[in-house]
């Protein structure tokens, strides 16, 4: 296996030089033991083409920077071993997010914008007392919150989502998962009607057409089908019983 010569077909485009149209460029590299796509890209840049742009930070599936389309499917370069791949590997940047150049996209602005839009923080009137003993939370709730919090905001679910690809204002699984997390958090005092206003719409949970590519391709294996359904059910309940809602 280690003697393979791998061919990488990599998407190249730099918005700074729009006169050069987007293209696929091929590179060849000898496979080494335990090689990940992350290692391969670094070697390509060091040995063959210093102009190649891509993002990485942690190389351990924690930071979520190196998400890209690997043979058409979103995944983390650091978590993808070349031994699991065919001889020919196509690499493209994630769709939906702003293209910085080659394989590099700006997921930060997108996530920041949605964090603000969904007010993804604890809403409470209680004044924090640093002297007091921390309030307890029952274990199942804490576990459920933790499960959703494992999201590293890599953007794979967004890149894999047909609705997010077609419609720029769709929140996508990452945010619906995040909202589910606040819905179950006992510290968050937001009434359900307030969530309803933000996610009970076609830009929110009802934009989801249930293709479940997010669930299939999440590198952190967060149970997104269940998370999306949880939000969907809560919103349906609101629509049926909320008299004050618009």
């Amino acid at each position: 296996m280690a003697d393979r010569l791998l061919t990488f077909s990599i998407f190249r485009y730099n918005p700074i030089t729009p006169e050069i149209p987007p293209r696929m460029q091929e590179y060849q590299l000898e496979e080494t033991m335990g090689m990940s796509l992350f290692i391969a890209l670094n070697r390509l840049r060091e040995e063959l083409d210093p102009s190649l742009m891509f993002d990485f930070v942690c190389r351990a599936a924690i930071c979520g920077s190196c998400a890209m389309l690997i043979n058409g499917r979103p995944g983390l370069a650091c978590k993808t071993l070349t031994q699991d791949m065919p001889d020919r590997i196509t690499v493209m940047p994630l769709p939906v997010f702003k293209l910085v150049g080659d394989l590099s996209v700006d997921t930060g602005v997108w996530f920041r914008h949605l964090n603000v839009r969904t007010e993804a923080w604890i809403h409470t009137d209680k004044v924090f007392n640093p002297e007091a003993i921390e309030e307890r939370m029952d274990n199942p709730t804490a576990q459920a919150i933790y499960d959703a919090e494992r999201c590293i905001e890599c953007g794979c679910c967004i890149g894999a989502c047909a609705t997010a690809n077609m419609r720029a204002d769709f929140m996508g699984a990452a945010f619906l998962n995040r909202i589910a997390r606040f819905m179950i958090d006992p510290r968050d005092e937001r009434p359900m009607a307030q969530y309803f206003d933000v996610v009970g719409t076609d830009e929110g949970v009802f934009g989801c057409i249930g293709l479940m590519a997010c669930d299939d391709l999440c590198p952190m294996e967060i149970p997104l089908q269940g998370q999306l359904a949880f939000v969907r059910r809560k919103m349906a309940q609101m629509a049926l019983k909320c008299a004050r809602c618009k």
Binding site: G72, I209, M212, D216, A239
Partner: protein, 215 residues
């Protein structure tokens, strides 16, 4: 937030439309399977078929059911159209996305749209041709199928069953009522079974000569 969006946005309406799509979808799914079993009574014989038809007439089931189903078809179609990729760019994005991703569920949505368009045309001609030769009798049905409607029905049965089963799958997945991977197999078997039953019914109608007097 921008003014026109602020004013036009209505979570309540958008959620209710989604629930309407769900309700009409389930209703049409139920109707389709009932309809397939009902017409398959021809396999048991001409008398069985005519008796079923007459009974539904007698209890006014046809006169309440048929308008309701037509209404449900129209409502379901209109509500489901909200999500379809109508702009040429959206359509190209969806096709390119599906080809890159090579993901069965994503392709299945394309199949949903395609079968919906087939049903739109063929179900309309089907309903029309039944209503103009009212009441439903084995002889008129056989005459229709032997008289050139055979290929229409082959396509309609396949399109309707696939659309219904994929639709049911999508509903169950979206509301998370099932374990996705396990359930897929059952739905594939059910689709094959129902299409098989439909074809058998069609063949019986096609090869059986039914004199008008028997009805």
């Amino acid at each position: 937030m921008i003014l026109q969006k602020l004013l036009a946005k209505s979570p309540k309406l958008e959620t209710r439309l989604e629930l309407l799509e769900l309700a009409t979808g389930l209703m049409l799914f139920g109707f389709l399977q009932f309809h397939m079993f009902a017409v398959s009574s021809i396999i048991l014989g001409v008398d069985a078929f005519n008796r079923d038809s007459a009974r539904m007439d007698e209890y006014y089931l046809s006169y309440i059911g048929i308008p309701l189903i037509i209404l449900a078809l129209i409502v379901h179609g209109l509500v489901a159209l909200r999500k379809a990729p109508w702009k040429i760019q959206e359509m190209r994005v969806f096709v390119q996305h599906s080809r890159r991703l090579a993901h069965l569920d994503t392709w299945a949505w394309g199949v949903q749209i395609l079968t919906a368009l087939i049903i739109l045309v063929l179900a309309a001609t089907h309903i029309w041709s039944v209503l103009v030769t009212w009441p439903i009798e084995a002889a008129t049905s056989a005459a229709r199928i032997q008289g050139g409607y055979f290929s229409n029905f082959v396509l309609l049965i396949v399109a309707a069953e696939i659309h219904a089963m994929v639709g049911l799958y999508r509903i169950l997945v979206k509301w998370s009522w099932i374990h996705r991977k396990k359930f897929t197999n059952y739905l594939v078997y059910a689709t094959i079974g129902m299409v098989g039953l439909g074809f058998l019914t069609l063949l019986v109608f096609y090869f059986r000569s039914i004199p008008k007097g028997l009805s």
